[in-house]
């Protein structure tokens, strides 16, 4: 690793001020950033740890929403979202491994927007709101392609506000070595609409499968998915799976998620 300064501010304002410096970078749970630094793929002059900011941690239910602080770990979400939003708790409980879940955070995962990460699918399918140090961003505007988000330099995610669906399920097809999703589908059913988001599959990163959403709003059943063409997206092709394979997975996993939610 190259050398850098590490600071641990106690407030969001202080963190934002520290990040205004040239070459400063925020550090959340570090489960992606630290391996990246070790490989010398990043060389910040300063890391601003967000661990000292108590206001960024914890879950709360507010009206029909589950509000999760950006620095809440996957382990905490897996434990504490079980009652209000079990599908999200299950998703968090299957990220990485136990040690990663004790450190990795929802805000870090979203800011990184790895094309195979699990959380982006839940955020996009539920139409969650990403609240930052500067503004509120709808999920549809937040994700802007592989490893790309609407976040500006020095902008920090504060919390994510999830509308709680009537029924939801995340179906993940594991990439067994990385524990990331080879492809994963989050289906969120609301009274008047259905959200379907696919991760791990597209060259454009996480995406909403609009045709599936429309079909499921008509008839919420696996058969409605089987009748569709696979999603029309530029799918990733690599040694783990061809583009056709991922498109097929997206369809199969969507139908499975729908079946798991039930009629």
């Amino acid at each position: 690793m190259h050398a850098f300064d590490l600071v641990v501010p106690a407030s969001l304002e202080e963190a934002v001020a520290q990040l205004a410096e040239e070459e400063a970078q925020p550090l959340a749970g570090g489960q992606t950033l630290i391996p990246t630094l070790k490989a010398r793929l990043a060389a910040p002059s300063k890391l601003v740890s967000l661990r000292g900011i108590a206001a960024l941690r914890g879950l709360a239910q507010q009206g029909g929403e589950l509000v999760i602080g950006a620095m809440t770990t996957h382990a905490t979400v897996a434990r504490e979202a079980r009652a209000p939003f079990p599908a999200l708790a299950a998703l968090a409980g299957n990220i990485g491994d136990p040690m990663v879940r004790n450190r990795g955070t929802i805000g870090g995962s979203l800011a990184n927007n790895d094309p195979s990460a699990c959380y982006p699918a839940a955020v996009l399918a539920t139409g969650a709101t990403v609240v930052t140090s500067a503004r509120e961003l709808a999920a549809d505007e937040f994700f802007q392609g592989m490893f790309t988000t609407a976040l500006e330099e020095g902008e920090i995610i504060r919390q994510v506000r999830f509308p709680i669906p009537v029924g939801a399920h995340y179906e993940k097809f594991w990439q067994p070595a990385s524990r990331f999703a080879l492809t994963g589908v989050f289906v969120a059913r609301f009274d008047a609409a259905v959200g379907v988001a696919v991760t791990g599959a597209s060259e454009n990163g996480v995406f909403r499968w609009h045709a599936a959403e429309a079909a499921l709003a008509e008839a919420f059943a696996p058969a409605a998915i089987a009748a569709l063409d696979p999603p029309d997206e530029p799918m990733i092709a690599d040694l783990h799976g061809s583009a056709e394979y991922r498109a097929h997975l997206a369809q199969v996993l969507t139908a499975r998620a729908v079946a798991a939610i039930g009629a």
Partner: protein
């Protein structure tokens, strides 16, 4: 450089560290606690697993400067003060849960955390819990048996499956 104070295996420790100083480097290189192993450079193997404030973490994937005031337990802090092995360590020995032993400290630390939270885990729960711990000798069967034995779910005299 910043000064951090930690409690490591019950002992108060304070050290000057750089921003980039990893917890595992402090433990091994400065405190001489070489029971915590480094098996990879990519945060995948879990050989470096220790407990920080009671939670299992990869000590190769956290900076010391971030955990000022924390309580750290390493493999050296698992046996009793008289050197008596913990029930899990004893079970590893009896069930032949280690071959070269390289992954073993990480396995013990990960499984100790599991047993604290779930005193009688199912085999599926044990395997799910070990997803971040790689045994390159591939001795998983006996590692799982050791966890079952330590949680009283395997008769102690069934003998090890060699």
């Amino acid at each position: 450089m910043t000064t951090v104070s930690l409690t490591v295996n019950g002992r108060a420790v304070s050290a000057e560290v750089e921003g980039r100083t990893l917890l595992v480097d402090l433990l091994r290189d400065r405190l001489g606690l070489t029971g915590t192993h480094v098996g990879c450079d990519t945060s995948q193997c879990g050989a470096c697993t220790v407990h920080v404030d009671g939670m299992a973490v990869k000590s190769c994937t956290m900076f010391v400067a971030e955990i000022d005031g924390a309580t750290v337990t390493t493999i050296e802090g698992i046996a009793g003060p008289d050197g008596a092995l913990s029930p899990l360590q004893q079970a590893f020995r009896e069930q032949h849960g280690l071959q070269c032993g390289y992954c073993t400290p990480g396995m013990i630390m990960a499984l100790t955390a599991l047993l604290q939270e779930t005193p009688k885990p199912t085999e599926a729960e044990i395997r799910h819990h070990l997803e971040g711990n790689i045994c390159r000798c591939t001795g998983y069967v006996n590692i799982v048996r050791a966890a079952l034995a330590a949680s009283g779910q395997l008769a102690p005299d069934t003998g090890a499956a060699h």
